[in-house]
């Protein structure tokens, strides 16, 4: 089968997901447009999407996910850990190079995913030994230790993502039970001690989460405003650029963390439902890819990507709607951000690459 016919077939087979992807990108662009005034963000966002799309195409066509050597990933992993150590020393979240500021945590997810997937790929059955599990958990925790002081939320979320990822590959049951009991005990013992050690702003975030209306002017401000924005959207939504919360500057971090609230205000439950369906379809398609993938590496990678997207949406939307404590995590296809956009496209390109390359196996 020639390259072009294979490509055509690939497009035809996955027409729906291309359509969904197109819609999601469109939603992102419209959502950034609806923020008004800050038009700088709008064009930068479009630019990031263009760069991302180019990378996406290149990776899908010319890259082969199976050709990445484990040794190379280890080297990149340690370089990343080094970078995180340096950033932690300077108490910085962002790596600033000239006009660019990169959030390394976005790319840490790709590295960790590849590393774990490659390691699992070597296994003969879907069962992890105790020692292996502890080793892998260590691999996950090592970079997180250095993220912890600068970005507690993200460290916790990445931990959640990869811990749940490992659960899919035969996590030893006794170790799991032990870990759960251990962490619960630790939590119960440490909570009272840690509570007094927390910084005021960290305590405040918990207060704000528990009772946003009481702390309306202080800790609960962000959540209160987000709830008002989402709630006032109603079923139909306030319309593009019409919502008070967005237009009158009441929503903080509307371009990034609370981009979902902007969307929910403008398009209401109608819009948010469509977004969740599109997003859900994309993830479901990812799961199908993992089902169809011919090798364990492909299965692991695609499952990991689905988990990453899923948890990210859960923490972002859950935070904005007051279900979970507010975290500073961007929402793919809604938030503005160079790192998140590029990382999203990279994940997608791996996913599509797996889908594209399945014909290799005969």
């Amino acid at each position: 089968m020639s390259g072009t016919t294979r490509f055509k077939e690939f497009i035809k087979e996955n027409m729906w997901v291309f359509l969904v992807l197109f819609c999601l990108i469109l939603i992102n662009i419209i959502n950034q447009l609806s923020m008004g005034e800050t038009s700088g963000y709008f064009w930068k966002n479009v630019l990031w999407h263009l760069i991302g799309l180019v990378l996406f195409c290149l990776f899908v066509i010319f890259f082969d996910y199976r050709k990445v050597p484990l040794g190379f990933v280890w080297i990149v992993y340690f370089l990343m850990v080094l970078l995180l150590i340096v950033l932690a020393l300077f108490k910085k979240r962002w790596l600033v190079i000239g006009a660019l500021s990169i959030q390394p945590t976005e790319f840490l997810k790709i590295i960790l995913l590849y590393l774990l997937s490659l390691y699992i790929n070597k296994k003969k059955e879907l069962k992890l030994e105790n020692s292996e599990t502890i080793f892998l958990l260590g691999v996950i925790l090592l970079p997180l230790i250095f993220i912890l002081p600068v970005d507690l939320d993200y460290a916790f979320i990445i931990g959640t993502i990869f811990f749940s990822f490992l659960l899919f590959f035969g996590f030893p049951k006794r170790l799991l039970v032990g870990l759960v009991i251990f962490s619960l005990t630790l939590f119960i013992i440490l909570t009272p001690i840690m509570w007094n050690k927390l910084k005021p702003h960290q305590k405040g975030r918990i207060y704000g989460y528990l009772d946003p209306e009481k702390y309306y002017k202080t800790w609960g401000y962000q959540l209160s405003q987000s709830l008002i924005a989402i709630g006032s959207g109603g079923i139909k939504g306030q319309g593009l650029k019409k919502g008070w919360s967005t237009r009158l500057g009441y929503l903080p971090a509307k371009n990034t963390d609370l981009a979902f609230s902007v969307f929910a205000e403008a398009f209401g439950l109608f819009g948010t439902t469509i977004f969740l369906i599109l997003y859900g379809y994309l993830l479901y398609w990812g799961l199908m890819i993992s089902m169809k993938a011919k090798d364990l590496l492909g299965k692991a990678l695609s499952l990991g990507i689905v988990l990453i997207f899923m948890w990210q949406a859960f923490f972002n939307i859950g935070g904005a709607s007051g279900l979970l404590p507010m975290t500073s995590i961007p929402q793919p296809f809604l938030s503005y951000g160079g790192s998140i956009t590029i990382a999203t496209y990279l994940f997608l390109s791996i996913l599509f690459n797996i889908a594209f390359k399945k014909v290799f196996f005969k």
Binding site: G234, L248, L276, Y279, L287, S290
Partner: protein
């Protein structure tokens, strides 16, 4: 690559379970999120929408211009004028200190005093704070160009009540003042805002619901920094309705001039239908003071002033004195005590009843006195004689037929009903029976008897029009701003007072003689006929009399060419004798009414003092002391 696995099928089989778990997890998580969004966006939608609105939209009241008040001859006596007011809205104020500092620079005022004023006003107000009234154009411009940097500072055009004739209409129109907290709580559901003015007295109070109008509303977006932006909603205010009074402006102004520097009241009515032509009470206050606000010292002065400037004396109760005598005369005729115009009494200057001697004001005595002469000269002995024979309950019944002891229908809430005593009243009040000696006092308008000047004018209206007692009224028409007549008052005949033709003619003859040759000569006006009766009501017993407790001077009268067209009551508190003080005032008033040039530049007290004070047995301060009367 798959050599590691025995069969690829094993992997696929294993993975199917993983796929299922993944699918469930995905649906679960997206499902939870969707349910949460459904809860927020559908179930709690209106709650959050209201919160969003409360946060993002400020709404301001556009005050409705108050209705105007015009006299019958078309003179505007209460109107509005636009002023610029500087308000501070605490809800939007971002930095109090900083804003006040900026304002002190803009207004070129001392920061300290501005701050003091701000805190004083803050304590008193319960809405926005009115920091400065009556801004100049210059100040308005200086604030408006900087308004974007002064969140919470509002310059507003407001209509303020304006009374062009100040004091002269005060007791008639009343006044408006800012709504106070209790009134606001009571009326906020009737469209009142916390900054509204509300009628507090007189016509402004009685006709509040017509004059008020309906406030409008302005809704403006406010951003997160407290700055105001787009107008999102506007409801235009509806102006209040105009009142057209029955009052004649020239008459009112003349009445005011005539009473200036005196204490007392003038009431003039149209005898044809009870319409109020003039109402003045002195001393008075400029009603605009209630809008600007009083200094506390100034306010105390008004409150403690013995001349009681806050009291509308036209509707306060006084002993009517001799002005009551025509009613006594009618009662005497109807009771058959007075047997005709020629039935006479000999007046030696005193009248003995039991152990007590009642004195006539004319110590020399009037000699033989018939009905006409008795009224014309106000002979006390003649009326003492009637009083000594008449039943108090009958006299009270006749007095009440003339509307005494009852509200006049004008509707002022501070109106007194006066008192027409009878035996039942005394039994109830003092648990003792009535003495005939007390009737003798009532017969000359003293004792327990109390009437208001308005009541007296109305009672004489019955004499003037031949027996019709109309309700007094002051608003002829209520008109909308578009000129539509919403309400037109029609005169109400309260009751018909049947008076025997002969009695009527005899009494009227007496009243005419009062002015022609009797005690009320000062009220004479060339070219027209004036009927009237003087009265000098004793306030304290003669022994205790000093300058400040001088008798109240009364003159109640009516005038016309052949049919009376105006009836008036003039009361000068502690003025002295009615014939000397009150009668010339009535005469001057009639000259104005008939556009006859005034006879004197000033109303001088007549040279020949007509002494007319009856010597009443023990009539104590202001209200007669009734406890220990012994006859």
């Amino acid at each position: 690559m798959f050599d590691k696995w025995q069969r690829r099928e094993t992997l696929d089989e294993e993975w199917k379970k993983r796929f299922l778990i993944g699918k469930i997890l995905l649906i679960l998580i997206l499902g939870i999120l969707w349910l949460r969004l459904f809860y927020l966006q559908v179930i709690k939608h209106s709650y959050y929408l209201n919160k969003a609105k409360a946060r993002s939209v400020v709404s301001y009241v556009i005050k409705a211009p108050r209705g105007e008040i015009l006299t019958a001859d078309g003179v505007v006596v209460a109107t509005n004028r636009a002023t610029f007011q500087l308000y501070i809205d605490l809800e939007n104020l971002v930095n109090e200190e900083n804003t006040l500092k900026k304002l002190s620079l803009i207004l070129r005022e001392d920061y300290g005093s501005l701050k003091e004023r701000f805190y004083l006003a803050k304590k008193l107000s319960f809405g926005r704070i009115l920091l400065k009234r009556n801004l100049t154009w210059d100040e308005v411009a200086r604030i408006l160009v900087r308004q974007y940097y002064l969140p919470g500072v509002i310059v507003e055009v407001e209509t303020e009540r304006f009374y062009p004739y100040g004091e002269s209409y005060f007791h008639l129109l009343g006044y408006v003042a800012r709504i106070n907290r209790e009134e606001y709580e009571a009326f906020k559901n009737y469209g009142y805002s916390s900054e509204d003015f509300i009628g507090k007295k007189g016509i402004e109070k009685i006709y509040e619901k017509f004059l008020k109008g309906v406030n409008g509303r302005l809704e403006i977006e406010r951003d997160a920094y407290g700055r105001l932006g787009k107008v999102v909603g506007k409801i235009y205010p509806k102006a209040g309705e105009d009142l057209i009074l029955t009052v004649r402006h020239d008459l009112q102004m003349r009445a005011y001039e005539l009473l200036k520097d005196k204490r007392g009241a003038i009431v003039a009515l149209d005898p044809k239908d009870g319409a109020l032509l003039a109402l003045v009470s002195m001393p008075s206050i400029d009603p605009s003071k209630f809008i600007v606000g009083f200094e506390s010292e100034e306010w105390n002065r008004y409150v403690n002033d013995p001349a009681r400037p806050l009291l509308n004396k036209a509707i306060q109760a006084y002993p009517p004195g001799s002005t009551f005598k025509p009613i006594t005369a009618l009662a005497g005729l109807e009771a058959g005590i007075v047997k005709g115009p020629n039935w006479s009494v000999f007046c030696p200057g005193y009248f003995n009843f039991g152990s007590h001697t009642f004195r006539c004001w004319e110590k020399k005595g009037h000699g033989s006195v018939g009905l006409t002469k008795a009224i014309a000269l106000s002979c006390d002995v003649y009326f003492y004689t009637i009083g000594s024979r008449i039943d108090i309950d009958f006299l009270a019944k006749v007095a009440r037929k003339f509307g005494l002891g009852e509200p006049t229908g004008l509707g002022f809430p501070d109106e007194k009903t006066g008192l027409v005593p009878d035996s039942a009243w005394k039994q109830k009040k003092f648990k003792s029976s009535w003495y005939q000696g007390e009737t003798i006092n009532i017969a000359i308008g003293q004792g327990y008897l109390l009437t208001t000047p308005l009541q007296m004018a109305r009672a004489y209206m019955v004499f003037a029009n031949g027996g019709n007692l109309y309700k007094a009224y002051v608003v002829r028409e209520i008109r909308s701003k578009e000129g539509k007549i919403l309400f037109k008052e029609s005169p109400t005949l309260e009751k018909r007072v049947p008076i025997h033709r002969d009695y009527y003619n005899w009494i009227l003859e007496g009243l005419r003689k009062v002015v022609e040759e009797g005690t009320g000569k000062a009220a004479r006006v060339p070219g027209i006929i004036v009927w009237g009766k003087t009265g000098t009501a004793q306030v304290v017993s003669l022994k205790k009399k000093t300058k400040t407790t001088e008798h109240h001077a009364w003159f109640v009268s009516f005038a016309g060419n052949s049919t009376p067209e105006i009836v008036s009551a003039v009361l000068v508190e502690h003025g002295g004798s009615g014939g000397a003080v009150a009668a010339p005032i009535a005469g001057e008033l009639y000259r104005t009414f008939y556009k006859i040039p005034s006879s004197q530049k000033e109303i001088k007290i007549l040279e020949e003092r007509i002494e007319e004070v009856p010597q009443v047995y023990e009539a104590p301060e202001e209200r007669p002391n009734v406890g220990n009367n012994t006859f």
